[in-house]
Symmetry: C2
Subunit: 327 residues, 2 copies
Amino acid sequence: MAIRIGIYGYGNLGKGVETAIKNSSDLELVGVFTRRDPKSLKTLTGANVYSASSVLDFTDKIDVMVLCGGSATDLPEQTPYLAKYFNVVDSFDNHSKIPEHLKSVAKSSEGANKTAIISVGWDPGMFSLNRLYASSVLTNSKYYTFWGKGVSQGHSDAIRRIDGVKDAKQYTVPVESALERVRNGENPELTTREKHLRECFVVACEGADLNRIENEIKTMPAYFADYDTTVNFISQEELNEKHSGIPHGGFVICSGSTGLNGENNHVIEYSLKLDSNPEFTSSVLVAYARACYKLNRKGEYGAKTVIDIPPAYLSSKDYNDLVKELI
Amino acid sequence: MAIRIGIYGYGNLGKGVETAIKNSSDLELVGVFTRRDPKSLKTLTGANVYSASSVLDFTDKIDVMVLCGGSATDLPEQTPYLAKYFNVVDSFDNHSKIPEHLKSVAKSSEGANKTAIISVGWDPGMFSLNRLYASSVLTNSKYYTFWGKGVSQGHSDAIRRIDGVKDAKQYTVPVESALERVRNGENPELTTREKHLRECFVVACEGADLNRIENEIKTMPAYFADYDTTVNFISQEELNEKHSGIPHGGFVICSGSTGLNGENNHVIEYSLKLDSNPEFTSSVLVAYARACYKLNRKGEYGAKTVIDIPPAYLSSKDYNDLVKELI
């Protein structure tokens, strides 16, 4: 019998979960829950749409609810609330607030006999796992995380808020020479500026002062001031044509030594090159939804993160086949 | 209190485990067990040496026994036997026989309230984990494993057995163009010859027929016949000077698509570049020895593989610190 999944929130992430479920024969999509008028929403695969307010009618019809809201305001409320009634998986990605979110989900779901896995995706998520595995094996190592080349939604939004900007897309780009130094095992100290570049493609309103816009971008605190930033003004047509995707990716590189006197060096590198950031994140969410269900069936209740989950639980394949084929 | 470790077998792997324990403050080495005369053996760190025949005197003095014997004949006997009396970790790496070995360890340790983790290292081990994670997330993907550049002990031995060969070292080298095709998401079908090259450095005996030796190497079934093989005759001095290390490494690359019509492609790549193959394997063994102890304390008994182990168990760090720093 298929694992019955619900999707709570229907943006890019929800759509990605929907298509990932369609491609997984062991999962079945019960429906999408939205705060909008359900009738106004047309799903990609024709999945049922229900009002978020009716979600508690589905407690015995859904095995795992995949939460697809945003980390800023949605998930800090939704995950603790829904974790009382459903097994849940979310992609909470505000790194500095993960301990707090984990605690809040753990507390609210106490005694509910439900399983919650938070902060699932690629960073946090697959990158977290790789930071953990690498630094557990090479105990005296240093690890580095680089992001990109990829679109930063937050930075693109920040540019769009500037007066005279009609549209914009920002790419975060890892600095190749920094990557090389880390790969060589140099374990360098790298500043923010030395690790990433920021490339901006901006559509200006007619008659806008391009110099002012460029200057406002490059000096924007936190977002751009600490980076080498390039600003390219292009037409809306070019932006639509060449920059409509949401690719992303990155690298976790860990380097450390072994031996009586640390004489042997080792480099562990994990990288992702993703055509669609939300669709990949969704695929990770779906794999962990599967794990969430299995853990719950085994009586493993409470709030968890990716580092708590035995890897075999992510697969739909038979355990003996995994041992035979993958190990 | 430190976790008390025993080392069973003292070759390159045992030495690597010894130094890895020295670099781990939460672990304590009780001693090395050898089938040789204990007095004949001098350890790198001055660790105690005991006769393998006395190992059962240590059942209450050792928390985890790390088995450092070979996969051909040692581990198939030693792991099932010792798993009755100790928590054990081994690096059994004969891929096709892993299911059988797992079953044998499971059966023999039944009812013993001990925990055994088999086939720990990098392949099987970290590579297995990456094959599993990647193919669980990208369910319609194809994964590729490349090895090298690194020394193959088995192939070096095979060359040394040829008449007229004094010494030899063989490197397995991944074919760069094949790597590139996989990284580009082409999902190619690759033959054995297309994936790896074999580079041989051979010291011939004085007066030996070099053409015959080269021909015997290149036509050796299973070992070389299916590969593009290069043979370089060098002096013993050059072999000692330039080819005395045991580096290795490799790549697991997985590529798959997402989206309603599979329109977005994703590439996941994991790679290792290791100065010392046995020392890195040892470091993985030591991390899993830590996990083995913790699992046993939690009452998780029986025979397991890396895909069964929650990643957080590998680390010596406090769980809350892991959540805060690594996720």
